[in-house]
């Protein structure tokens, strides 16, 4: 059997390097945050020297959502000065999230948007691979923002639809929904019981931006901090509902979870809930009001007696 084919980089890398160089040279930004080639795949890179702009790449390995570096609490990043950030469509939605929640001033960042044809599920591969149903990041299928609009530069060329994964997230959510209640409970408590409370999911999430996360609030201790099933249940549930209507489905939390908890299923379920009930889909339009914090007089209330 032959392995999956190596894919060329997405169109627009040359432009990306040129734009990055110009932005740095003109002093418009002090740092460009993008991806570079590394031994085990792509990795985030901070470029301050225009001469190094050629390090930038954009291919199917560029899975990381770099917006997490814009979190105002990452002082070491904001201290660098005005940022030029390379974003995919899903990443741009996270920028909109930060703008919506007054965490960012639009003119502190220059957004270089890349037209995207999907990324791999796993970023740590030495070579970019052509996307197949087996290796594509499930969220890329059906992505509605492969050409981000919240950008200052939009580079590259329109890309074809990524392939349909073997099982889409929606199908996986539906499969769970079809299980009897007790089996769902067994499934999730089992999954959550694995959690080691490393909080990687939170650290990497571009929208988990709290100075002191609720899980670290000790007086009172709403969420038990020890890694046992009861505390884990509250933690995983709370993290998920805190992202309801805010999560942009970048998949980073799940990718970073060291014990493989399928957080994206929870996230997707919440996306479905806010979509079905309130017609809300995450977008990269900061004016698009988030569903929690808003209401309509005729919101559904079939579950209320």
């Amino acid at each position: 059997m032959t392995g999956p084919a190596i894919a060329p980089a997405y169109a627009g890398v040359d432009e990306l390097r040129r734009v990055a160089r110009e932005l740095l040279e003109s002093g418009e930004v002090r740092v460009i945050i993008g991806w570079e080639d590394a031994r085990r795949g792509a990795r985030p890179v901070f470029i301050t020297d225009p001469a190094e702009a050629d390090k930038l790449i954009f291919d199917t390995r560029c899975v990381h959502n770099l917006v997490t570096y814009l979190d105002p609490r990452r002082d070491h990043v904001s201290e660098l000065g005005r940022i030029g950030l390379v974003v995919k469509g899903c990443d741009a939605k996270a920028v909109a999230g930060l703008l919506r929640e007054s965490q960012l001033s639009r003119d502190h960042v220059v957004l270089i948007g890349m037209r995207c044809g999907g990324v791999l599920e796993e970023g740590e591969l030495p070579e970019p691979l052509a996307l197949t149903p087996e290796n594509v990041a499930p969220r890329c299928y059906g992505c509605d923002n492969r050409e981000p609009t919240l950008t200052d530069h939009l580079l590259g060329e329109p890309q074809p639809e990524p392939p349909r994964p073997v099982m889409t997230i929606d199908e996986r959510v539906a499969a769970l929904d079809d299980l009897p209640l007790e089996e769902r409970w067994a499934f999730w408590t089992e999954q959550f019981s694995k959690c080691v409370r490393c909080y990687a999911c939170r650290q990497v999430c571009p929208l988990c931006i709290c100075e002191r996360c609720i899980v670290e609030k000790t007086q009172p201790l709403w969420i038990e901090s020890a890694a046992h099933p009861r505390g884990n249940f509250s933690w995983n549930l709370t993290r998920a509902i805190h992202l309801a209507g805010r999560c942009v489905d970048c998949g980073e939390c799940e990718r970073f979870c060291p014990v493989g908890i399928p957080l994206s299923l929870l996230n997707r379920k919440l996306q479905q809930i806010v979509h079905d009930r309130y017609g809300y889909t995450a977008s990269d339009d900061p004016e698009n009001a988030a569903p929690i914090g808003d209401y309509r007089l005729d919101d559904q209330q079939e579950f209320i007696k």
Partner: protein, 675 residues
């Protein structure tokens, strides 16, 4: 360590019959943190309260739990008792073992066990109560009234007569509102001007009333007792201190063909003008949009194209270079009285409304609305009170009045009844018949809603004495046919089509909220209903208050209102404002939210949900004064203590005093002591 006193009340037999009060007191005695526990027949009686006071002193209690009736019943009583005994009154809570226990259960053992649980829950809560001070808010005893129609004038007069200063802000050049345009008023047919003008003059001359005409509200800061309102005084180009209203300026103005707003477009005015002869103040305003000089300036002409009025003014009162001015007024209460406007039934409509293209309004001069008819019927109007139709000045021999144009028509965007049209249609039919004896007045109506004192009698008179023909049904089309207007309608009582050849048609168009009211409501943190009228705080019990404490409503800004209603509401707001001004300081329960600035990230989700706009963004600075971010800040004067902000704050960085996270947590925790 807490030293809590528990006082279990028998409430005579009310609690004691089902709950073993002594056993409850006994069980709670051993609860950690309880220093004293006793039961008594009637805790709320004087001897009962004395027990509480005595125990506070004897045991040096840090908290008190009274297990008795609902806090809605006696919380105040026991808090007062604690206060008198020197214990901060917010350290006292009620455990409701009457309404929520003894009265709803029969089994003594069950009820006793439950009463113990309830007691424990509240003891755990009280352990986390903090001594708090009632919030005292000083009151600026000065009011603002926005809108100078009859409602605004009345409110201003009532408050001013009560001895307090009032700032009356009117966006037009004169006060008076719609009432000044009316001819005669139902249900008594007295002349509108004759009853209104004295009020206008009284307001103008009142030593306690300060008038800003040609002015609008720019910004509202602050809260009840302490508003700071920025008023934009639009550039008038006329110095009101110098001008004596002689009229030399408008006599020479060459721009003479501007439709007069006062005459609803039925006559013309000049660019510098006084809206109507009885205007207050009786001084002109220069309408820059229509002035030859300003139109020239807008085109970039080097030399001013006119200047006649300035030359003509002997008092030197005209200045073409004045600009909008901003005045900040500090007031303690605000009355909103911005009135209404008429639904424009033409083809062009704002979003959500459909209009009545089929009625030809705005396209045929003889199809007019109610206010235009008022002007035609008015002695001070363009026809001197003779009923003459606009197109050719002939006396119309057949006039059709159409009720409910827009109102009660959900297809056109408005489901509500405009309330006053049935009455003014009857009035119009009467006025017409009184002046044109051989004329025919036909009214198409849906229902006749004449439900005020003397109203039904009035509308019956139109039919029975003045012989107006009332046809129950709708009009489908109105169109010109030579000299006549064809009115196609349907008589639903006789089940037949009716076609009338009319000389003039009067449309009773719906009453709509005035332009800009939504924006104004936003500035005041008030909400508007689906139709855009400002919401009252409670439809039955608080009809002239809004959800923003200190902001009141009078007149047609709240819903369609006739003059008696508008005036009654205005006087009600007057009473509200005067009672607010009768104290120097307002006392508020300290049930307010407080932001933990150490952990708040300023995401402002809390501000999004606060029903009162109590939360604002505040900059935070480093030690050397550099702005390094922002957090939320709750204005304790505005916060009403709902706690909605807290539940949306992801990191729980905002906490509601008297229902803090720790208190609720401890209550829930107390439940693990079940069994």
């Amino acid at each position: 360590m807490s030293r809590i006193g528990v006082f279990v009340c028998h409430c005579g037999e009310n609690i004691g019959r089902t709950v073993d009060c002594a056993a409850v007191a006994e069980a709670l005695k051993d609860h950690p943190g309880v220093a004293h526990s006793e039961d008594y027949k009637y805790m709320c009686s004087d001897p009962g309260q004395a027990l509480v006071k005595k125990a506070i002193e004897e045991h040096n209690l840090t908290g008190v739990v009274v297990a008795a009736c609902s806090p809605h019943m006696h919380e105040k009583t026991f808090r007062r008792a604690c206060d008198q005994a020197g214990l901060n009154k917010f350290m006292c809570e009620m455990a409701n073992i009457r309404e929520h226990c003894s009265w709803i259960h029969e089994d003594r053992e069950d009820a006793t066990a439950k009463a113990i649980d309830i007691g424990r829950t509240i003891i755990e809560k009280v352990k986390h109560n903090r001594p708090l001070e009632v919030i005292k808010i000083p009151v600026t005893k000065r009011a603002m009234v926005i809108g100078g129609g009859i409602a605004g004038i009345q409110a201003a007069l009532d408050i001013a007569d009560g001895g307090h200063e009032v700032v009356l802000v009117e966006k037009e050049a004169s006060i008076g509102g719609h009432m000044s345009q009316l001819s005669e008023t139902f249900p008594t047919l007295d002349c509108s001007q004759c009853i209104l003008t004295p009020r206008m003059v009284e307001a103008y001359q009142h030593p306690n009333i300060k008038l800003h005409t040609w002015s609008e509200i720019e910004k509202v800061d602050g809260y009840i007792g302490n508003f700071e309102v920025t008023v934009r005084k639009k550039a008038r180009s006329v110095d009101l201190d110098l001008c004596n209203g002689c009229g030399d300026c408008w006599a020479v103005c060459p721009s003479k063909r501007i439709p007069s707003e006062f005459d609803a477009g039925l006559s013309n005015r000049t660019a510098i003008y006084v809206p109507f002869p009885q205007a207050v103040p009786n001084q002109p305003v220069l309408d820059r949009e229509n002035c030859t000089l300003f139109k020239g300036r807008a085109k970039g002409l080097k030399k001013d194209a006119c200047g006649k009025c300035k030359d003509a003014c002997l008092k030197n009162a005209i200045d073409y270079d004045t600009e909008d001015e901003f005045v900040v007024e500090e007031v303690g209460a605000i009355v909103v009285a911005t009135g209404y406007k008429l639904y424009d039934v033409g083809r062009e409509q704002p979003e959500g409304l459909k209009g009545y293209g089929e009625y030809g309004y705005g396209e045929d001069p003889d199809i007019i609305d109610g206010l235009q008819f008022e002007r035609i019927a008015s002695a001070s109007g363009p026809t001197g009170g003779e009923i003459l139709r606009p197109s050719d000045g002939k006396e119309p021999k057949t006039v059709v009045f159409v009720h409910c144009v827009g109102s009660r028509d959900i297809d056109k965007g408005m489901a509500y009844c405009s309330k006053i049209c049935c009455m003014y249609n009857a009035k119009h039919a009467m006025l017409y018949k009184h002046k044109v004896h051989d004329g025919r007045a036909v009214a198409f109506y849906m229902d006749i809603r004449a439900n005020g004192k003397g109203y039904d009698e009035f509308s019956r008179r139109a039919i029975e004495e003045d012989h107006a023909e009332y046809v129950r049904g709708r009009v489908s089309r109105i169109f010109r046919d030579g000299d006549k207007l064809k009115v196609w309608g349907f008589d639903t009582l006789n089940d037949e089509q009716v076609i009338i050849d009319a000389d003039m048609v009067v449309l009773a168009t719906a009453i709509r909220p005035n332009d800009g009211v939504k924006e104004l409501a936003q500035k005041l943190s008030c909400s508007v209903d689906v139709d855009g009228f400002i919401n009252e705080a409670h439809p039955k019990l608080r009809p002239v208050e809004t959800n923003t404490a200190g902001v009141f409503l009078a007149g047609a800004c709240q819903a369609p209102r006739d003059i008696p209603d508008a005036v009654a509401m205005a006087s009600a707001t007057g009473a509200k404002v005067l009672s607010l001004f009768s104290t120097d300081e307002l006392e508020r329960e300290p049930a307010v939210a407080v932001v933990d600035e150490r952990t708040c990230i300023g995401c402002m989700r809390c501000a999004l949900v606060c029903p009162y706009g109590a939360i604002e963004q505040r900059e935070i600075c480093t030690v050397d004064g550099q702005v390094c971010g922002h957090t939320a800040y709750v204005n304790p004067g505005v916060c009403q203590g709902c706690g909605t902000c807290q539940a949306v704050c992801l990191s729980n960085s905002i906490d509601l005093q008297t229902f803090t996270d720790e208190q609720v947590y401890s209550e829930i925790n107390a439940l693990c002591m079940w069994e």
